[in-house]
């Protein structure tokens, strides 16, 4: 994907991924300044117990940073049958957020597969955000790190997807990770 900086304006992209019903759409809706494009459709009976509808294509939100800089948020569909979308949405991204519903054990397990796919697909920074966690207990963080097989360098942050300040904190954690990655690996000429 060509650089998105052209003369006057720059658009950058962050992808929000994670298991089904982890709260990705909610997170983007909480922080986006535009009505989020939700592409949700009826789902099968097997998943209806958890959620009445799910994202089948993407969520799309926008944050205007300043006159010349816009941050777009793309939410990936949570179901595996839409994993072909991930690479399309991931192209050109600054980094990504892996959102997990920490109250559901299956969400953490499901996140492992998604994270593995993203790590194979993209060599960009990411953070893990634990939705529905009031605070981050050390044991809980250790358990998530073990299941996801991520080291101490990867930020794992608590998140309440309906709380704007909490979502801001997740975004900032990712942005600082990107800064760190720049410091560690200077941009190629």
């Amino acid at each position: 994907m060509p650089p998105r900086k052209k003369h006057h304006g720059t658009a950058v992209k962050i992808v929000v991924t994670g298991p089904f019903a982890a709260g990705k759409t909610t997170l983007i809706r909480t922080i986006s300044e535009i009505t989020v494009l939700s592409t949700e459709k009826d789902i099968t009976d097997s998943t209806r117990a958890r959620k009445n509808e799910t994202t089948v294509a993407m969520d799309f939100g926008r944050i205007t940073i300043d006159r010349d800089l816009v941050l777009y948020l793309f939410g990936t569909p949570g179901q595996e049958r839409f994993d072909f979308m991930w690479e399309i949405l991931g192209e050109g991204m600054l980094g990504y957020i892996v959102l997990i519903d920490v109250s559901r054990e299956d969400s953490i397990a499901e996140a492992r597969g998604i994270l593995d796919a993203f790590r194979r697909m993209a060599n960009v920074p990411f953070v893990v955000a634990l939705n529905r966690s009031s605070g981050l207990e050390q044991a809980e963080e250790a358990r998530v790190r073990e299941v996801l097989d991520i080291d101490e360098m990867i930020p794992v942050v608590p998140c309440d997807a309906v709380d704007r300040e909490s979502v801001k904190a997740v975004l900032l954690a990712l942005l600082y990770s990107v800064v760190d990655s720049l410091d560690a690996q200077p941009a190629r000429a």
């Binding site: 994907m1 060509p2 650089p3 998105r4 900086k5 052209k6 003369h7 006057h8 304006g9 720059t10 658009a11 950058v12 992209k13 922080i31 535009i34 009505t35 494009l37 939700s38 592409t39 459709k41 089948v56 294509a57 993407m58 799309f60 926008r62 944050i63 940073i65 300043d66 800089l69 816009v70 941050l71 777009y72 793309f74 569909p77 839409f82 072909f84 979308m85 690479e87 399309i88 949405l89 991931g90 192209e91 050109g92 991204m93 600054l94 194979r120 697909m121 993209a122 060599n123 960009v124 801001k168 975004l171 900032l172 942005l175 600082y176 990107v178 800064v179 990655s181 720049l182 941009a187």
Partner: protein, 353 residues
């Protein structure tokens, strides 16, 4: 996939970015009560467009630039009629009447003008129709951000230009005495002056030249700056124009011993000073076919557009989003244009939300 909604909910740059980021192919139709436009995308890049689907905008541009003779144009129109779905520019290329490079240049100008025009639409409906082909696809591929950036740059200039060329229905007239002693005209300026007749309005000149509203108004503003033309409402006091000249000559006639008809600002006053009564014009008033003529083959409103509703936006299905990334297998790397300065701006911006 259907993607439709209102421009009140989603601005056009956002829609463009979405289609670009997700590498969509198809046609984005935009409508408002006074008109319809369309922008074509191929894998997220713009391949063409028009802000007025009731006209053959690209065809008018080519004709206005003097690139097509009667025979070539007639043959191309017949070819389009015979093969629905083919565009006029494609027909001209296929017949060899126009070089592909020349066509490419005009397609780019046309798409850029269309995006600028459409960016000024703040109300209306949009509907994206997946895989709808561009009838004039000439392998042009324009980066969305460049188009939007150019459109925004034009919008900034537009305010200044419209102070000199205030309205589409303003009449353009020649000034009798230019404000500069020596005047040099570019080919574009000459081409525009050649169709100024003291009656045509700005919008009629735009339609006649086919050059697009921004380029035409920019050229008119330049001519106004140099005192070569005046732009105003029909009937405005034209101090430097023919009406002002006739009015002052009528005042002088009191010393010349000849009766003068009362000065008027109409063309009928051209007979003033001849000593005869004002006669009705010999030449009947010129019709303005350019603005009233309907196209021979207007574009149809897609089914999706008719269903567009006033609020929000939705998509249905996902089968259209199945094209894999080119070069699949290579890991996505950090964009090399991302630097610390940009990141610090992002951090400050997110902190300030």
């Amino acid at each position: 996939m259907n993607l439709e909604g209102s421009l009140e909910a989603f601005s056009l740059p956002d829609i463009f970015q979405l289609l670009s980021f997700t590498k969509k192919t198809g046609a984005l139709h935009i409508s408002r009560p006074t008109g319809r436009g369309v922008v074509y995308f191929t894998t997220g890049a713009v391949t063409g467009g028009t802000s007025d689907t009731s006209r053959q905008s690209l065809g008018r541009r080519l004709v206005g630039a003097g690139l097509v003779d009667d025979d070539a144009l007639g043959s191309a129109v017949e070819a389009v009629r015979a093969a629905p779905g083919t565009g006029l520019a494609q027909a001209l290329r296929d017949s060899g009447a126009l070089d592909e490079g020349v066509l490419h240049e005009h397609v780019v100008e046309q798409a850029t003008d269309a995006v600028f025009d459409l960016l000024r639409w703040t109300q209306g409906e949009f509907a994206f129709v997946v895989d709808e082909p561009n009838p004039d696809d000439l392998a042009v591929s324009l980066v969305v951000e460049e188009l939007v950036t150019e459109g925004r740059a034009r919008l900034e200039k537009w305010e200044t230009l419209t102070k000199k060329v205030p309205a589409p229905d303003a009449v353009v007239t020649f000034a009798l005495a230019p404000s500069t002693a020596e005047t040099r005209l570019s080919a574009e300026e000459w081409g525009l002056l050649a169709v100024v007749d003291g009656e045509r309005t700005v919008s009629q000149l735009v339609a006649l030249t086919g050059r697009g509203e921004f380029a035409t108004v920019q050229t008119l503003a330049s001519l106004v700056d140099r005192g070569l033309i005046a732009v105003g409402s029909r009937g405005d006091d034209e101090e430097g124009g023919v009406a002002g000249l006739l009015r002052r000559q009528a005042v002088l006639s009191a010393l010349e011993g000849r009766p003068e008809p009362p000065p008027t600002r109409s063309r009928a006053a051209d007979s003033a000073g001849t000593g005869t009564a004002v006669a009705p014009p010999v030449v009947p008033a010129r019709p303005e076919p350019i603005v009233t003529r309907q196209p021979d083959f207007p574009e149809e409103l897609p089914a999706g557009m008719a269903r567009a509703s006033g609020g929000g936006m939705r998509t249905e299905g996902s089968a259209a989003i199945a094209e894999p990334r080119a070069g699949v297998g290579l890991p996505i790397e950090r964009d090399p244009s991302v630097n610390k300065s940009l990141l610090l701006r992002l951090i400050a911006g997110v902190r300030g939300l």
